[in-house]
Symmetry: C3
């Protein structure tokens, strides 16, 4: 879990993912020779801060977004949201602008958010939740498990995958925008018919801790039943613990697969968390393990 | 109207359109040799559950969505909406899951929808309104006239069309998602500059029964005036009864034509109904006849 | 400013931009031989009412939308909005339908808008704010500065630009829809990696008159930090007065660059106005001058 702990400590609020992207790319280059199959790597300015890895002959792609929610300084001491963070008075926020490091507390509520830093911030400065990783026998708790755990699952998958795309996307928390060009590049390079979204979902009355990785039948958008049925059937065969989610709200990179100009089936698969979009996101280690296990299983068989 | 009655009895809630798609494809294969022009047929997994028919040298495409609104089981006895059905306590719903056939009543209101089936349903099970077709001298009334009538108009058009695409799309009621790949395929195969949306709209203070098929000047989105003017001008020449609609809300597959990466003009043309998205959708037979008549007329001249 | 005054007097409510498009095209053809570089011109039905000018070897495109907000007649004496105009009882509106010229007053409020013209209007007739241009030493005030000033800045840029696309887009005020095909055409013809949005933004507590052209760090959507930092750095070097905007709401043609299937960075750059979407939009002449000056500077260096 060293890789997971390291990426949990890196900030990458939507639109400013370059540092995390560099870290992941560096890690890939260090490790790739130990992987079962050596991937072709696509990254750099032509891909903004996204990274695509092509292993063998892909039929399916896995997408994990590397950005997080956060805040941005506006005028005076005002803050506005990047994506949908929970607004909790007193939350510690960190960042950096042209004058140096920033350490402050969030003040106010959803209608009026500010910070208490003694000086003004450069307009547009991004702030992240201060990180505090807590690990016990049953749970991991930290800021930004959404979607550092998805990134972790995607990197672990690289060790054994023989055929498939593993893709690190950006902007997801603030409405998206990298998926369209990533999908176009994939379809122009080595096309797929299936996509899995490695991301974190919510504990609800029907999705509970320690019951396994979540396979989402729907959120606001609805993947094609034929494909979901096939994924569920394979999950049953795998013996890996999983639970089914049916939600009327929420979205993911899957939304952009749905609206892409390609007939690509998609499914969201990931662990569920409590305290969504707070510094205290909490995930069951058993559910995380199921998430880590199901990706290699499905990628081999889909 | 045998075809219409048959498709009214088949369920195809968004995301699960495969059975209706198979039925339409079977019908097409039975009838195509009697049509004026033999179409090239595109269907199968590469097109999910959509069907495209290419007649002659297309200038225009007609799109009819084959999915419907409905419900999906969540956890316990909860239901959530697929698309925007009217929530009417006591409505009869039908479906099927791994345990067998389901026949139940809808309970509750928009904030809390449930069913009264004595056993739990598989999560993600789709439920449709029970069908009850009523026909008299002036009206047809049934569930899912939206958009079985559009599908019917599209199939009738196939009998006489010489040049054009006739396309059966999916997912429309829950936000769309097949139009982008259908449009890309069309533009890559035999491109068009014009699209007509064969779908059902609403009776309002300005759109009334027996006044003819509706040509929509706008809904939430606004097609280009130059094209709408041309459609209206042809409609006047045709002598077919029509009425104009101007709405600030609502959408159709036209929305995805508008936002596609192709300069394709579009127009929504279809009969209007009362009791939208209920089991009691009601359409004037005179308006339906005008809808059936205007498509061949326009497709020949646009 | 003769060109600006002329385009301020032409109406082009979203979806009906053909007259303004023709005027701009005519102007381009009259002037192009006096420009530093002769552009390749793309216009006509294949581009709906958009115009693209390709100068030299483009790295960046400038987009200016030529449509405006306005109103559309519905049934009886009802009006509905095109885009988001301010609803001010008593506002003078102008238009034309099959019966002739229309001059009327807006009645009512946001929930119920009507006109007082003594006869009914053809359904779907577009109405614009009556134009009243006011110019003094510090300000220009008129209807539709948004986005006639952007169009003006784009045309002025044509005089000196050596490399780049200058593009006049449509539909922007009512949700967009021309940008996807414009971007596809650009990327298929002479691709770019950068886009600047020449449009008008709002005076707020952080954006004030006479403080320079606005470079927007974000609106509802968030361009990539790396690119914005580069634009700001060039702006500093230029010595041209500018101010930074950080907003949580609003959108522009930049939204469609963000969601395009191309990895194109984008930034909104334009003067700010008071009385947004009213007949009394007001812009500082100093800010306009900064807007006119920054485009040639950036296009040469980006």
């Amino acid at each position: 879990m060293k890789f997971l702990f390291e990426i949990l400590k890196l900030y990458s609020v939507s639109g400013d993912e370059s540092k995390l992207s560099e870290f992941i790319l560096h890690y890939i280059n260090q490790r790739k020779n130990f992987w079962k199959v050596l991937p072709v790597i696509f990254s750099g300015e032509d891909f903004h801060d996204c990274i695509l890895l092509k292993f063998g002959e892909p039929r399916t792609a896995v997408f994990a977004h590397i950005d997080t929610i956060g805040f941005m300084s506006r005028y005076n001491n005002q803050l506005i949201c990047v994506g949908g963070p929970e607004i909790i008075d007193g939350t510690t926020l960190l960042g950096k602008d042209s004058f140096g490091e920033i350490y402050c507390k969030l003040k106010g509520d959803e209608n009026d958010i500010s910070h208490d830093f003694p000086r003004g911030l450069d307009p547009g400065t991004r702030l992240s939740f201060a990180q505090n990783i807590r690990l016990d026998e049953k749970f991991i708790q930290a800021a930004y498990l959404d979607n550092r755990l998805g990134v972790y699952a995607a990197i672990k998958l690289c060790e054994t995958i023989t055929d498939g795309w593993v893709v690190f996307s950006t902007y997801e928390e603030n409405g998206g925008g990298s998926m369209p060009f990533l999908l176009k590049f994939i379809q122009d390079t080595s096309p797929i018919k299936q996509a899995l979204i490695a991301d974190i979902t919510w504990i609800t009355e029907g999705v509970q801790f320690h019951k396994g990785v979540v396979i989402s039948i729907r959120d606001k958008f609805i993947p094609r039943k034929k494909f979901i049925d096939r994924v569920i059937s394979l999950a049953i065969d795998s013996g890996i613990p999983f639970q089914l989610e049916v939600e009327g709200y929420g979205g993911s990179d899957g939304r952009e697969v749905q609206f892409s100009p390609y007939a690509i089936d998609w499914c969201f698969i990931g662990a569920a968390e409590e305290n969504v979009h707070t510094p205290d996101e909490k995930v069951s280690l058993a559910d995380l393990e199921a998430m880590l296990n199901i990706y290699p299983y499905l990628m081999e068989r889909l």
